[in-house]
Amino acid sequence: MSKTKIKILLIDDEEEFASTLAERLELRGYETRTAVCGEDGLNLLAGETFDIAVLDLMMPGMSGLETLRSIKSSTPDMPVVLLTGHGSTKEGMEGMRLGAFDYLMKPLDIKDLTLKILSAVGASDGKENE
């Protein structure tokens, strides 16, 4: 059964960035939940089903890579798109090695993000149907 809205888990320690980006995604027809740290994100993931996670790599406390490992351990089929800063491409590539779908650099272009989301969810849907 196809879902009408793609549901996104957005994990970023910058609350204003996450809430503004969430609002812009909602205006574009996505459903979003935000978390300001890895632990909160994992708690949300334990209680709800998401189609995709968008995860900031550079977070204090539980790092983006640690969060990614936990996400991949609990929900291996859910795609994860990473957000990283210019100069942190090494971490982005490490994230890909750990199973992330792809990474984007902040500040990002929302068109690039939505294309990446559609691509990731489409690829994931394809896998489920195999």
Binding site: E14, E16, F17, R24, G85, P107
Partner: protein
Amino acid sequence: MSEQDFLKTQLFGKLTASATHEFQNVLAIIKESAGLMEDVLTLTPMENAELLEQRLGMPLATIKKQVARGVALVSCLNGFAHSTDYARQKVDVEGLVKRLVSLSRRLAANTGVELAFEGEQPTLYLNTDAVQLQACLYYALESLFMALPARSLITLTLQGTSSLSAVTLSASHPDQPISHDLPQVICQGKSWEALQKAGQAIQIRPEVNETGVVLFLEHGDSVT
């Protein structure tokens, strides 16, 4: 570089890299906020849209332009900060030169000089001290800032063979020929002295010619 010097340099690099990452987050928030305002404009009913577009269109375009400018600058600074991560590393010479040109533009402008990086650049990597290499490039630029009249242009190009590469800094001026005593003026400056000392540490040989400076990079253990 002594161990203490390396530790001090590494400290500057770590703190700068951290601060530039924070600044990227600031720019990301500003960009998303401007984007949300644009989204609201798009969704505004037609009868109000034109007025809002008139009032908000220009400031939104300004925000986007300045964010792009900030991102470019912060990316360069972040890359510069990370050049201190290791005492010696595989360096993308073209990327390093481009970055240093970006970071030096304001200093050049303060002396009335413009910078450009152009031409077909060979792919060149060197195993070297990236900080020291940047110091050589910067002192080469500075030796020219001090010697050239306002409105001069310094063009940087990269040349390479299998055993030797060079970064050429050539001066030109739109209204007058370059002074024939440019080489002497360069060699008399403190920046030239600093360049020679910096170059000795990593086998970089600077030379002056009638239009500027050439830095010869010897490929002791280069990786092309």
